[in-house]
Amino acid sequence: MNLAQRLKSNPAAVWGGIALVACALLALPFVLAMAGTTWVRVTNLAILFTLLALGLNIVVGFAGLLDLGYIAFYGVGAYVYALLASPQFNLHLPFWIILPIGALAACVFGVLLGAPTLKLRGDYLAIVTLGFGEIVRIFFNNMSQPVNITNGPQGISRIDPFSIGSFSFSQNEVILGLQFSGPIKYYYLLLLVLIAVIVINLRLEDSRIGRAWQAIREDEVAAQAMGINTTRIKLLAFAMGASFGGVAGGMFAAMQGFISPESFVLVESVMVLAMVVLGGMGNIWGVIVGALLLSFVPELLRHTVDPLQRSLFGHLIVEPEVVRMLLFGLALMLMMLFRPAGLWPSRVRRRELAEK
């Protein structure tokens, strides 16, 4: 592994770098909180989307399957959490029970979707997954009669936050002299989950299954000839990606305290895809950067473009929401036209290594 080789050659520098990054990450929420708790929330959402992008990366990047309905798994995870930890059914199970259930539910949906459809060719698979995503959202939006399951377009609110015993993640507390707001507590939890997910992804990439995914992406016929059961392995990719989505969804529900079908529309699937595409499909670090970029830049723009337009033109010409969507659309188009391998193509790194 890249890191392992560098560690051997210059351990001091690498550990120093890691320590620096760790300190920055640990201090970050408090720095952001000075500008306003909103920025901590924005960061938390960015981390959630990074989790989603990493999950989709397994499907699109590793295995080469275009899934346009990925947000459905996020939605399943979120609704499972909401149904088991809110006044909707008056169930209040602890999060460490619900999150695995949510992941499992999403995984089951992934397998249900994948089993009949993975043999389809690329663009058809894309449309079918899109259709699936829409079907799931429509069901979320309508399952309020005759039995009220999802509470329809109004969504489910007053979802329980994470709590361990009496320690709740939504309350402000003072610990060790520092002011820990709810979002700041969630930040650390999300950071932990993100690190775990990154490690899992790195391990998956460099494993027998990861190589099988790559082989399928490169040449499915040859992969079959080498004994790879491509249908089963593709299904594994779907299931893994879906599980990540489910976990992220559960955390989203707890963090936000409220979910509605609006959060799980097609546009969200496309946004996660844009993050994967921008970072370079298959490239774990690239995808992380892509996700962070596409999460933060629109927010930053929203805070600068708005006053800028008012001072230049006197009024708002282009709404920040439009700017955000234009950015996504253009990112997708320009990336495919000019840099289809992503901003940080991973194969470039590999060739660099080989040329030593």
Binding site: D123, I127, G131, G329
Partner: protein, 308 residues
């Protein structure tokens, strides 16, 4: 029985629109194996442009309503054709030989960009269709059919016939069919492949413009989000009939419209009101998944070239 006939009529109307839009999808897919995701937005642009013109003409002139609608449509067509051409030149041409994911992703991006541009131009508010067409209603065996419905079905059929004549009776049509079978060989035989592909896009866009006007007129409003769902359903219709197959697109469109209308009408009864007509949009996707799983080449068989 009344409901049944009424739903058939409604289904045929909407189905005709699906058919016209599906033709655009199927022609493009047949010739370059690309799902033109942005096609739905072209339909929307057609509706918006036409409505703007129609609205202006209604308030500022006293032309007869039919002429106003005609002028509106004629104004929409060149705009849509221009958008279709631009899409081909700027977004898709470079990616002709790229792995299939690339143009699909670009198409999605283009669709988003077009939608946002439309919102910037026309704002979030829907454009209304002025009450200039008489609301004449005819009675057919217990059900009603309006003038607009008749017009939509008639115009769609006329367009389908016209397109079939072009594709099967003209030199242009021969060139289009040759290019969709094998672009390389067609090129060697003297066909200007780039031009033919561009023309295919433009014809599809022109059809989309008319479809946009029809849909807008039927529902009475045009809105910048009206294109996406309509486009998706029309694509489902194209797949249902057999992608790349013109007759398939027409059949698929009509069928999908009828299935949707009947489904929406009867689903309450079939499921004891557990699922109501608000699940209508699900039908198109269920049909799509069903077709692709059980009969991927569609009802009439697919017609695509040797690229795969």
């Amino acid at each position: 029985m009344d409901i049944f006939l009424q739903q058939i009529i409604n289904g045929l109307t909407l189905g005709s629109v699906y058919a016209i839009v599906a033709l655009g999808y199927t022609m493009v897919y047949g010739i370059i194996q690309l799902i033109n995701f942005a096609h739905g937005e072209v339909v929307m642009i057609g509706a918006m442009v036409a409505f703007s013109v129609i609205g202006w003409l209604t308030t500022n002139t006293t032309l007869p309503p039919l002429l106003i609608v005609l002028i509106g449509t004629l104004a929409a067509i060149p705009v849509c054709v221009g958008v279709g051409y631009a899409l081909e030149i700027f977004a898709y041409r470079r990616l002709r030989n790229a792995p299939r994911l690339a143009p699909l992703i670009t198409a999605i991006g283009a669709s988003i960009v077009l939608q946002q541009l439309a919102m910037m131009i026309w704002s979030r508010n829907p454009l209304g269709f002025p009450q200039i067409i008489p609301n004449t209603v005819f009675n057919v065996g217990g059900a009603t059919i309006t003038l607009i419905q008749i017009a939509i079905i008639a115009i769609s059929i006329a367009l389908m016939i016209a397109l079939t004549l072009v594709v099967y009776r003209t030199r242009l049509g021969v060139a289009m069919r040759a290019t969709s079978q094998n672009a390389q060989i067609a090129g060697l035989m003297g066909v200007n492949v780039n031009q033919i592909i561009a023309i295919t896009f433009m014809i599809g866009a022109a059809l989309a413009a008319v479809a946009g006007v029809m849909v807008g007129t039927y529902y009475g409003i045009a809105h910048y989000t009206m294109g996406s769902l309509l486009g998706l359903k029309a694509f489902c219709a194209a797949v249902l009939g057999g992608i790349g197959n013109l007759a398939g697109a027409m059949l698929g469109g009509m069928l999908l419209g009828i299935v949707e209308a009947l489904g929406a009408g009867y689903i309450g009864d079939f499921t004891n009101n557990v699922f109501g007509s608000n699940y209508q949009d699900v039908f198109a996707f269920l049909v799509l998944i069903g077709v692709l799983v059980f009969r991927p080449s569609g009802l009439l068989g697919e017609r695509i070239g040797d690229r795969a």
